[in-house]
Symmetry: C2
């Protein structure tokens, strides 16, 4: 429904209320017309923080419209398989999806650049790029090719580097290592890793049996539920492939254009508030989970400088190839890269030194 | 207006439309009733990012209600003096204010704890505490005593430590130093500093004449406009007194309770989205400003470990005193402190190491 049509039909209904004051309630609803949407999440309910972002979005939208704009949230696979939600939104089978772009890098690797690729911006950097660095426009130009409008709608913060059965210190230790990993697998291959694809529910058994040697999942809060420390105790950091993954609300373009402008704006505002909320929740729940994991036997290990440097080099080589194969990737990544250079100049001044001082006090047990 | 009253009066208006269909438009507006509020900002328009948060809030709310809930934003002093906005909101002279709590620490030092006190949480930490660590409830319990409801509505990120005419390295260098500074002045006094109060517009001249020796303002983007590098070239970091100040939307409690629930929820959601937006803008504009400042002669200097450690010690002594004098301060600060301990344990794992690696690459000119 276009804005003009919305007002026209609303007026018509109100006029008919002249004949029956019992129609007052429907007439009232017209300023906030009844809209009922379905959201297909790529996340299972068990990942309550990232999955919960879809519910938060729905709650904010419903409350602000007095329950007139409702979004029913369906977990991964309930109505659409988790990695097919983009197709479902493109086709209009569902009005919107809550997902992470890198699941769709098989369509175009630009999908990865707009969510998280190794050594890209952290959560705040991505948000700065999206809302003030042109990211919203650049990504929506790209989404238009899929008949989609998209807004950032959550972030997990920097993730962990995953669980390893043995310690790894050098590139030699990575040779033949079978690791369950996502988009970064293409880069790790250059370092000798043999990437594995496994659903979350199968990781524990595979690690226990030694079918795989390592697996990355999310961060302390989500990882703790799966008990990996019992079978692969070395818990590495940082997850250099996910420094601040942007989760998206992806909306069918036609359905979005049919919304009254007030609802369009509300969706965008609610998504931005959800981004703040999901990050806040991860930041709140991860510390306690980390302490529990360590108490349960997880051994924290930083990736060695050798591994970090080699990974960074391999990532840059991969990006040089991808810039040739995907013009959309090049356009988006060029824009992120230009900002990344300045962003990491500035963050090492006030922000890093403030945090580093308090982190040192934490280690000294002085907080 | 209570929720029930809202529906009642809306119905009444629609019923009267039975007599005249030309009343259709007002009838429509009742689902989004006309509400016109005034916001008193504590910030001048020149601080466009922090002042702009008030305008962003107003824009989000107006758009989502089709222009029915409007908030007119007034800059510092236009209708209320900047440091009197809490009184104005308490009394209902204006419906809401956009301000930083620490301006009102003279009323109760708890006002400072809920915005920023030295060595408290950074921006993400404050957000985690507010939305998932009980902060919203704790602060609103406190605000209720002022007839106020409050939501976080912006954050400046970690600020800089200000501009100094001479280098300072030791506590000895601080003796008798006249510094323009806010709430942290009480703590700096213990280190030998003589705190000064000066409006922003008078700082430059005072530094030039040597009436004061140092001044803190905000961060690169806001500082650059005032040209301090010409008269006090040593630009210190971090601003250990403002690691992530929470800006608030403070709303008269009666006016808030009169809103229909949809508007109440929308205000809260819009404020949370504004928090994301202001931080994103500061993160986007500060890097470029920092480069310009350095090109214009600013000399970046970290506070020495001696000064940081002594400041931390002085802050803790001050807090021990304040916990005795203000029960509200104690309640809020105890809650923040408990989370701070865990938060800075976790942030030094994935987040710090991810950022530190990229910061090192930035210094190597490899980004």
């Amino acid at each position: 429904m276009k804005r003009r049509e919305f007002f026209k039909s609303a007026t018509a209904i109100t006029a008919s209320a002249a004949a029956a004051t019992t129609l007052a309630a429907p007439a009232l609803a017209q300023s906030n017309p009844k809209v009922s949407w379905r959201l297909a999440s790529s996340f299972p309910k068990g990942l309550d923080t990232i999955y919960g972002g879809g519910e938060t979005l729905a709650k904010y939208v419903s409350e602000a419209t007095d329950g007139n704009f409702t979004i029913d949230v369906f977990a991964a696979g309930e109505i659409v398989p988790p990695f097919e939600v983009v197709d479902a939104v493109s086709a209009g089978t569902v009005e919107l999806a809550h997902t992470v772009g890198y699941y769709f890098s098989g369509k175009d690797v630009a999908w990865a650049a707009l969510s998280a690729i190794p050594f890209s911006l952290n959560a705040r950097g991505m948000s700065a790029w999206y809302y003030h660095g042109g990211g919203l426009d650049l990504t929506n130009e790209f989404f238009a090719g899929y008949n989609i409008v998209g807004f950032p709608c959550g972030n997990t913060a920097a993730q962990m580097g995953g669980w390893f059965r043995k310690e790894i210190n050098t590139i030699a230790d990575l040779q033949g290592l079978k690791m369950r990993v996502g988009f970064a697998g293409a880069i790790m291959t250059k370092l000798g890793v043999i990437p594995q694809t496994l659903p979350g529910g199968e990781i524990y058994n595979a690690l226990e049996k030694g079918t795989i040697d390592a697996a990355e999942w999310v961060g302390p809060y989500d990882d703790e539920k799966l008990g990996f420390q019992k079978v692969a105790p070395y818990y590495y950091y940082p997850g250099w492939w996910e420094g601040g993954p942007t989760v998206h609300a992806l909306i069918n373009r036609d359905k979005f254009n049919e919304l009254p402008p007030a609802y369009q704006s509300l969706l965008k505002t609610a998504a931005q508030a959800t981004s703040n909320d999901m990050l806040a929740k991860y930041d709140y729940v991860n510390p306690t989970a980390l302490k529990k994991l360590v108490a349960a036997g997880a051994q924290l290990r930083p990736f060695s400088p050798e591994i970090m440097e080699a990974s960074f080099k391999a990532a840059n080589e991969t990006y040089a190839e991808l810039e040739t194969s995907s013009p959309a990737f090049k356009k988006i990544w060029d824009s992120i890269k230009a900002f990344r250079k300045d962003y990491y100049l500035w963050t090492q001044v006030a922000e890093l030194n403030y945090d580093a001082f308090l982190q040192a006090q934490q280690r000294n047990n002085a907080l």
